[in-house]
């Protein structure tokens, strides 16, 4: 007696859930971690009274900034009328929503009292840039969903451009708002710079484009569709430009700091003596996250698709490394309260703080990546978010 052969739909569903599984696993691990933090408090993390924002913030800010940057693809299509990008606008919108939801999940679950998060909406402090961001984040969800509606519903097509412009403006303000969270911290040597909002905007372009290139290739591979080298070439050139622009702004940020003598000790810490923060900056951000991608993207090596994808991957390694140095390293260096004095206290005054992320923080951050993955896979399963030009070309040729 022969086994009945499985129907194509069963095979497709099995494959689908097989792909979904790693994401669900990460989400569950993140949820467990969040529960532990809620149960025992932040004492089980590596955070303390000096380093109050740790690895979860690195993940959350990476996800939120990248979410905004991914929309660059949609803006290039709908606002600036580039057909190659317009064909990819739906995928860009889906990824933006997935990463924003993921970033906010991590941010929320890292709160001391995540059960009170609704207070952020009901008792609103208008002077707080954090509170502004609550509006900006929820507004981005609304505007991107509206934009996706105009893309997916043919009867709404005439509204695509206005919706695209709204998304473009909104994400610009949102990323500025994320940069302002740090720019308004005037007392800390690492922050309090007007350069941060534009730097975050340019970083969002680079990180978003990298995520998009990697996800696009994965999605096309999953659907057995080809990745057009000509299209990839255009996008990789843009990515190289963004990576160089970020390097320029990061260099300016450090050079202006070096010029101010009161910032010299801080810069020395970040660039020379900061241990993990220094290593993360030079090895992670400069070497692996910037110079290596530039070589891979702007030399003949870029002719190979896998090199472009590797460059994208390393840009993301650079993103995490940069954020680690910026957020953790920025807090490890002590605040300058008593100029001209050597300082010592039981609260870490005048001393470099120490921070080692715990397993719970890693799992919470990875759970955020899982959330983004799961939303993307579910979105791709329910709607047609594939690059339209590739699908049309495949259907004509096939």
């Amino acid at each position: 007696m022969t086994q009945p052969s499985r129907s194509p739909i069963t095979v497709r569903l099995t494959r689908y859930f097989f792909v979904l599984f790693p994401g669900v696993f990460l989400v569950l691990a993140g949820a467990w971690s969040a529960f532990q933090m809620e149960e025992h408090g932040h004492v089980i993390t590596g955070m303390n009274n000096q380093v109050v924002w740790g690895l979860p913030h690195v993940f959350a800010i990476f996800l939120i900034v990248s979410a905004s940057g991914i929309l660059n693809v949609a803006s290039m299509g709908s606002v600036f009328g580039q057909p190659v990008y317009k064909a990819r606008a739906p995928l860009s919108g889906l990824l933006a929503i997935a990463m924003l939801a993921a970033g906010l999940s991590v941010l929320m679950l890292d709160l001391g009292r995540p059960d009170r998060v609704v207070l952020a909406a009901t008792t609103y402090n208008v002077t707080s840039v954090f509170a502004w961001n609550v509006l900006l984040y929820s507004g981005l969800f609304a505007t991107v969903l509206m934009y996706l509606w105009t893309l997916l519903d043919r009867t709404m097509g005439k509204w695509t451009k206005p919706a695209g412009i709204l998304v473009f403006v909104w994400r610009f303000i949102l990323t500025s708002g994320t940069g302002l969270i740090f720019a308004f911290l005037v007392a800390r040597q690492a922050y309090g710079s007007a350069l941060l909002p534009p730097m975050f905007i340019v970083m969002s372009f680079a990180w978003g484009m990298s995520v998009f290139l990697l996800v696009q290739s994965g999605v096309l591979w999953w659907h057995h569709l080809p990745l057009e080298p000509a299209i990839l070439k255009r996008m990789k050139n843009l990515l190289a430009l963004f990576v160089l622009a970020v390097l320029y702004l990061v260099a300016i940020y450090h050079m202006t700091n070096l010029y101010f003598s009161r910032q010299a000790a801080f810069e020395r810490f970040i660039l020379l003596d900061g241990g993990t923060a220094t290593l993360s900056f030079w090895l992670g951000y400069v070497l692996l996250g910037t110079l290596l991608p530039i070589v891979l993207l702007l030399t003949p090596l870029s002719a190979r698709v896998c090199n472009v994808l590797m460059a994208s991957f390393f840009v993301l390694i650079g993103a995490f490394s940069f954020l680690y140095t910026f957020i953790v390293g920025g807090q490890e260096f002590p605040l300058l309260v008593f100029t001209g004095y050597k300082v010592h206290s039981s609260f870490g005054d005048g001393m470099i703080a120490s921070y080692t992320p715990s397993l719970y923080e890693w799992l919470l951050g990875l759970g955020g990546l899982g959330v983004a993955f799961v939303i993307t896979v579910i979105g791709l399963g329910l709607f047609n978010f594939l690059p339209r030009d590739v699908v049309e070309k495949a259907s004509v040729s096939g």
Binding site: N48, L111, L119, F184, V186, A187, F338, S345
Partner: protein, 248 residues
């Protein structure tokens, strides 16, 4: 005649007793010049601006009576680990070059323009009309943005469940807290615990009072000296100032 004598003797004795009493309690009065208990239900007055003047020349290195008093008053425990709350701490300073050593208590500076209040998304961090900066523990979501914004690292995050609730102020895991200037005592017309402890230890390093009242001891003292406000470059209008601290 004898009546007159007796009367003048009584006058002399009563005046002498009053004078003796005045001399005996004068330091207390000086520290206590703000003693005006606020009736329950009456809001804090904007006419008052509570503040402290800390004389570092009177503050002894190694003495932590103020810290212990704060810990007792608020049931904070004496742990000084990286995740333990410290509402007030002793900071030891050594001037670069001269090698001059100082010691001082450091706590929330109760700024007139507090960065923690500006950045708090829910309004949990707030400033009372009388200048005392507080955290509403029922409104704090534990985002720690106020800790990032505070130029003095004056705030602590409650990293683990609070088991001892015998303190004067409500505390809870996952929220941020800092020196309340012993608001519960001040509202009753009493001194903050650290001020009282410093006085009892004989150092008299902390003078507490109403900065808005020109007749208060703290106002008079500030007029006669040049106190230093920490991070004066930020123009925060700190309610706490220091004596004997140069070029901060």
């Amino acid at each position: 005649m004898s009546d007159k004598c007796a009367q003048s003797r009584r006058n002399f004795l009563s005046r002498g007793a009053a004078l003796t009493a005045a001399v005996a309690i004068a330091p207390g009065i000086l520290l206590y010049d703000f003693a005006r208990a606020r009736p329950v239900g009456e809001p804090a007055s904007g006419k008052v601006r509570w503040g402290m003047l800390i004389d570092t020349t009177q503050c002894e290195s190694g003495c932590d009576e103020c810290v212990q008093a704060c810990n007792r008053e608020n049931a904070l425990g004496s742990d000084t680990g990286a995740t333990a709350p410290q509402w007030i701490r002793k900071v030891d300073l050594e001037q670069e070059g001269s090698g001059k050593k100082l010691s001082l208590p450091m706590m929330c500076q109760h700024c007139a323009e507090p960065p923690c209040v500006e950045v708090c998304p829910t309004g949990a961090s707030f400033k009372r009309a009388d200048g005392i900066v507080l955290v509403d523990k029922h409104r704090c979501i534990g985002c720690r943005y106020c800790m990032m914004a505070c130029p003095f690292e004056a705030r602590s995050f409650v990293h683990e469940p609070v088991l001892d609730h015998s303190g004067a102020t409500p505390r809870g895991k996952g929220t941020v807290e800092s020196c309340t200037l012993c608001v519960h005592r001040v509202d009753e017309g009493r001194l903050p615990a650290c001020v009282e402890a410093c006085s009892k230890s004989g150092h008299q390093a902390i003078l507490f009072g109403d900065l808005s009242d020109p007749a208060s001891e703290i106002s008079k003292r500030i007029l006669s000296v040049t106190p230093t406000h920490l991070r004066a470059d930020l123009n925060l209008g700190t309610g706490v100032s220091y004596l004997g601290l140069e070029s901060s």
